[in-house]
């Protein structure tokens, strides 16, 4: 061992300076102090009666984490909203928009890390129920009763049946269309030109003569655009079966008859009755494909149907429908084409649909009461919700009438689609092209919606995770079989079903049935 000689002090000093400068660099944040996330405790100190006088409340900043791309003028809108809520109940807001592609990953991290946040946008497709079972969100029943009366008055009560876990409420759905029907949506000019009786077309097989005619007369059109990513609407058009449980790769595996409310019997896709429906549809698609009615790249295409619609190549599509959907499609093609729909499936309210867009309150919230007040305002106060969704009058939009606006192009706010995310869409201002009665027709649509007998039921996959992983890989192998681009689909279907049986589809089915029976018994 040699002794180090010479400039040891200098060396040490340099290392020290380096270390310190690293420390210093990390200083410039204004994050709160690190305290462990508040454990369960909805009881907070302020037991003030809901007299919302700002004087009785301490100032508090409510953070709102929501699903939307950040926009240039977010800060302006945040300041305006804060100003408004400060007068109302001494709260300011901290807007935290997160772009759609990152939303799930980023919020999962924030929830796992126990970051302090108040209102968090969540949905059935953002693993809401998984997060609830992990205890990420507060139970909202009491808060809603105390500080969210406006929400309960406005919201269709069916909504509050869905986001429940073990009977307790964990999310407040955004007030919009509660469900969607499925429809064949047509380009109106084509329908008019050839007098196509869309009232009589109820299944894919009814299209045969019209495909034949259009193939000849309108060679430019893609008559039946199919992608590998979906199974179309075979169960909806040919039966009363509806999907429930896991849908790996968006392919249904389990179905139930929704008209039979007392005795819910789960059938899987390997059941003879179900697979005969699938077989008929697969073979029909195959024959359409051979006749050239289906796009030749159906098995592999990644083209977005919206782009093709804009080019006018789509005359018919299988689409989700709600009042005003045709107008939305028209706007999406820059008003080039008119659309007309024929609904062919009775819209039913399922857990997933009713919980498709919600706000929950994080368990790390330091003042859940105030978070609920803000949410209540976003559900009841047209000024607040429109400020959030459309921006500031005069800067981001021009007001045309009482409840109609004209967005200003490139204004720096209002391009992110927030209307279906924030609070209450039914009190949003109407935009160009939307009919005056849009929201009243939604209200009607919601009131008439039929509830699925399984509304409120959520399948817990934890005990059959391995089987589901295996089923997913089998499904992935055979996804293209339904598109018609693969020869002999009936044989493919049989092969697939054999493999699904081996992968344990029956075990998952039994588990699903058991859980449903238990859930039914608890009702």
């Amino acid at each position: 061992m040699k002794k180090l000689k010479g400039r040891k002090p200098l060396f040490t000093a340099i290392i020290l300076v380096l270390a310190l400068s690293l420390q210093a660099c990390s200083g410039g944040n204004n994050g709160g102090t690190s305290e462990p996330a508040a454990s369960k405790g909805t009881e907070s100190t302020s037991t003030a009666a809901p007299a919302d006088s700002p004087e009785s409340l301490k100032p508090y900043e409510v953070s709102i984490i929501y699903f939307g791309a950040p926009q240039r003028d977010d800060a302006l809108v945040e300041a305006k909203l804060s100003e408004y809520f400060k007068e109302k109940f001494n709260a300011t807001v901290d807007l935290q928009p997160i772009a759609s592609s990152e939303y799930k990953q980023k919020t999962e991290l924030m929830l796992n890390a126990g970051e302090p946040m108040d209102l968090v946008f969540t949905a059935s497709w953002l693993n809401f129920f998984g997060n609830v079972s992990k205890g990420a969100f507060l139970d909202l029943d009491d808060l809603l009763a105390k500080y969210g009366q406006g929400i309960s008055e406005n919201l269709n009560p069916i909504y509050l049946e869905a986001p429940r876990y073990k009977g307790k409420l964990y999310g407040i759905p955004t007030n919009k269309e509660i469900t969607q029907g499925k429809a064949y949506t047509y380009r109106k000019d084509i329908v008019d030109k050839y007098n196509i009786p869309i009232e009589d077309i109820k299944t894919m097989s009814d299209f045969e003569p019209w495909f034949k005619l259009l193939k000849e007369k309108e060679p430019e059109l893609i008559l039946d655009f199919i992608k590998e990513s979906g199974e179309g609407m075979m169960y909806e058009t040919r039966s009363d079966f509806r999907v429930i449980g896991p849908t790996p790769n968006k392919i249904p595996l389990f179905l139930y008859d929704y008209t039979n409310t007392d005795n819910i019997e789960i059938k899987s896709v390997v059941d003879p009755e179900i697979s005969s429906i699938a077989k008929a549809e697969y073979e029909l698609n195959r024959s359409y494909y051979e006749k050239g009615y289906i796009n030749s790249d159906a098995a592999t295409t990644t083209t977005d149907i919206g782009d093709l619609r804009k080019q006018g190549k789509i005359w018919m599509q299988q689409a989700v429908w709600k009042p005003g959907a045709d107008i939305e499609l028209k706007i999406a093609t820059d008003n080039k084409y008119d659309f007309i729909s024929k609904v062919i499936e009775e819209p039913i309210v399922t857990t997933d649909l009713a919980a498709g867009s919600m706000f929950s309150i994080s368990r790390t919230s330091k003042d859940p009461e105030r978070a609920m007040m803000v949410l209540n305002a976003l559900h009841t106060d047209p000024y607040a919700v429109n400020l959030f969704v459309n921006g500031i009058e005069g800067t981001h939009y021009k007001k045309i009438s009482e409840n109609r606006i004209e967005p200003i192009a490139d204004s720096g706010y209002g391009t992110s689609a927030l209307f279906w995310v924030i609070g209450n869409q039914l009190i949003n201002y109407l935009k160009p092209g939307q009919p005056d009665d849009l929201y009243s027709s939604w209200q009607e649509f919601n009131n008439e919606a039929k509830r699925s007998p399984l509304l409120g039921f959520v399948f817990d996959e934890s005990s059959v995770k391995n089987e589901i992983t295996q089923l997913t890989s089998v499904i992935g192998e055979y996804r293209a079989a339904s598109t018609g681009a693969i020869p002999d689909p009936a044989k493919m279907l049989e092969e697939r079903n054999e493999k699904l049986k081996k992968a344990g589809i029956e075990k998952v089915q039994t588990e699903l049935q058991t859980q449903i029976d238990a859930w039914k018994a608890a009702q």
Binding site: M1, K2, L4, K5, G6, R7, K8, L10, F11, I14, L18, C25, S26, G28, N29, G31, S34, A69, P70, R72, D74, Q96, A99, S100, S101, E102, Q105, K106, L109, N112, A113, E115, W125, Q180, K227, S229, G230, K250, T302, D304, G306, D307, K310, Q311, A319, V320, K322, A325, E328, L329, I331, A332, D334, G356, D410, T415, A417, W420
Partner: protein, 303 residues
């Protein structure tokens, strides 16, 4: 074929050198054409991409993609500023720190070298995963939403440190260090005045890796940054592309809200973003090149 020295270039026959040249021309075209295509597509009219697909000779040229990007040039500028800042700072710090780590563990007479090498190597095999890293960054170091969160994660790349260590071991002869010590230099002086100048090739290599790494990094920004003015350029680009991807893959969400699809940037805008993102880094390479050519053959001990 004549075989006299006139028809030979550098000792290779004309035929062979032709074949070699052609092979290299093809190779460089394979590298260059995709980049050219990206640039051309970025100047193509969106409608003609839809009808005609990508092409080197589009039907219709258009500047619309660049117009719509520069409409928001404040954001682009701030993205450039952040990207340049973290790239320059990060690279300088990263190379210095990695050299400071690699040099001691390259010295045979350093008693703890095995322990420190193992300490480094261990992190290559096991890491705590994203959630734990996120927790440390946000709740222990408190660097959420600061530039430090963009610089720190890539400061020390274990694999690169090991490459550096090997380079020091093989290139810096112990005799050089010995002779410097006899001449009265201390450890620090040896490191700064002898070892580093002799190791320019490896330093340049690491600087290049670092530069590219920092310039292209968007994932850390995704995790840790939340204020719009601290986003690096690559992240801003990535966000737009990912959002397009996301909506394309989530057909239901898009189908329920066709208006969300309406504002999607088209292909030419995406390519224009790629062009803007890659510009500076293309220019960086020549500055490093001279170190790769020279340097590697330089020795210090007379044989």
């Amino acid at each position: 074929m004549a075989n006299d020295s006139g028809s030979r270039i550098g000792g290779i026959s004309v035929a062979s050198s032709m074949i070699l040249n052609i092979a290299f021309v093809i190779l460089s075209l394979i590298c260059f054409l995709p980049v050219l295509l990206v640039i051309i597509v970025s100047f193509t009219d969106g409608q003609s991409i839809l009808t005609q697909g990508y092409s080197f000779v589009p039907d219709k040229w258009s500047l619309i993609a660049y117009e719509s990007i520069f409409k928001d040039f404040q954001t682009i500028l701030s993205g450039y500023r952040v990207s340049f800042t973290i790239t320059i700072l990060g690279t300088a710090l990263s190379v210095l720190l990695m050299a400071l780590y690699a040099y001691p563990i390259s010295r045979a007479d350093y008693p703890f070298r095995n322990a420190f090498t193992f300490f480094l190597f261990f992190t290559m095999l096991f890491n705590g995963g994203m959630v734990s890293r996120y927790l440390i960054y946000t709740q222990v170091l408190h660097i959420k939403d600061s530039y430090m969160a963009l610089i720190l994660p890539m400061l020390i790349v274990p694999f690169n440190v090991i490459i550096m260590r090997t380079f020091f071991q093989t290139t810096i002869h112990p005799a050089v260090i010995e002779s410097a010590r006899i001449d009265g230099a201390g450890e620090l002086r040896i490191f700064l005045r002898i070892v580093l100048p002799l190791s320019l090739p490896v330093l340049a290599t690491m600087a290049l890796f670092s530069t590219i790494g920092y310039w292209n990094d968007w994932f850390n920004a995704l995790l840790y940054i939340s204020s719009e003015d601290k986003y690096p350029l690559q992240y801003l680009m990535m966000r737009v592309l990912n959002d397009v991807q996301y909506l394309r893959n989530n057909v239901e969400l898009a189908a329920q809200n066709p208006t969300m699809m309406k504002n999607l940037p088209n292909e030419s805008l995406q390519m224009a973003m790629a062009v803007i993102g890659m510009g500076p880094i293309l220019i960086a390479y020549p500055f490093f090149q001279k170190y790769f050519v020279k340097g590697l053959t330089v020795g210090a001990v007379k044989g």
